[in-house]
Symmetry: C2
């Protein structure tokens, strides 16, 4: 009896500066085979960003063609730029039995729920407080004041959606947060798709 089927989705949301990447990196040896979904965007690459590692960079025209063709699992327009998740790579990773990790916002989470609710688990990752978030954003020194203010405003909005998520991880220490993340990832893998449940029942009764 195969218990872990065709892969599953784990959505991570939470303010920029919550420490999502650090948590994933710390936990990565204990969460099995996973695919970190890379977004496609129309914004320009920043210094140091690499095509296919940080984003897939495309033109607005191509992005809109892909929207028309239904090639996105979810997409959104943020500050005039498109960001989206290509369905193709997600499907391939799921077929290979991988856990597909998405780092997307509250809106993106809602769109994934609409399309793949049955195999999706979600976790909201956040620093302990808003002031702690501000401290971390300043400490990392990658954003100017305008961007920091924008991130703070977004965070105030997003925290209100925390109850839409299956889990919340408060990143007080990376060790704690990574330990909880491992539990969440393992639980995500145990989720069965509706299709698999129906097959299971049929086989069970036969």
């Amino acid at each position: 009896m195969k218990n872990i089927q065709k892969g599953a989705i784990l959505v991570l949301s939470g303010p920029s500066g919550a420490g999502k990447s650090t948590i994933i990196n710390t936990a990565s040896d204990n969460i099995g085979k996973y695919y970190f979904s890379i977004s496609t965007t129309t914004r320009n690459p920043r210094v140091g960003e690499i095509e296919g590692r940080d984003y897939f960079f495309v033109t607005k025209e191509n992005f809109e063609k892909d929207i028309e063709a239904g090639n996105f699992l979810e997409y959104a327009q943020v500050h005039g730029n498109y960001y989206g998740t290509s369905l193709k790579l997600v499907r391939e990773a799921l077929e290979e039995g991988k856990l597909v990790l998405f780092d997307i916002d509250v809106q993106g989470h809602r769109l994934v729920r609409e399309k793949m609710d049955d195999i999706t688990t979600s976790v909201f990752i956040t620093p302990p407080t808003l002031s702690e978030l501000e401290i971390r954003l300043r400490a990392r020194g990658t954003d100017d004041e305008g961007v920091i203010s924008q991130r703070i405003e977004n965070a105030k909005e997003e925290i209100l959606a925390v109850s839409e998520y299956n889990f919340t991880i408060i990143n007080d220490t990376v060790e704690n947060a990574a330990k909880q993340f491992v539990i969440v990832a393992q639980a995500a893998r145990l989720k069965k798709s509706q299709e698999d449940e129906i097959k299971f029942i049929a086989r069970w009764l036969s």
Copy 2:
């Protein structure tokens, strides 16, 4: 920041003979402090059953008084006898931060969801197939043919409700099943009550 709050509920359902007790016993060192909820019943004790360990045995009159007083989290009538879960002990265990385990049926699960959905996780535990269940029921030799037939009929009904549960554990080997149960129990503990979420948001924004 306290991450694990006032305890949580984990509902276990699945046919008699699925191996629930064995799984819990095997997993028990790795699931933290828990309270296995003991049902109250009006049926007569069987040979070897102990008051306060297997059940709380009460009269029909007292049971019905407790129903009137709203003292049950859930209750049902099965084959002419009442079975129920007293709210008082559950509340105490939750206050102590324990994981409260319930071994109840599909109907009981629905009733717990109605009252304590936000802190409840549920898992359906089952042998790999119906014929395997029959083999196990006969092998354990505790039930006569009539009871076995009844259990088989119940199982056929209950398996159809598997999609109402957060997780399904197929008990092919106890080691496998116990390992999955540990993940489920740990995930259950990470669930936050609605009350705690509201408090968290308020504190976060302050």
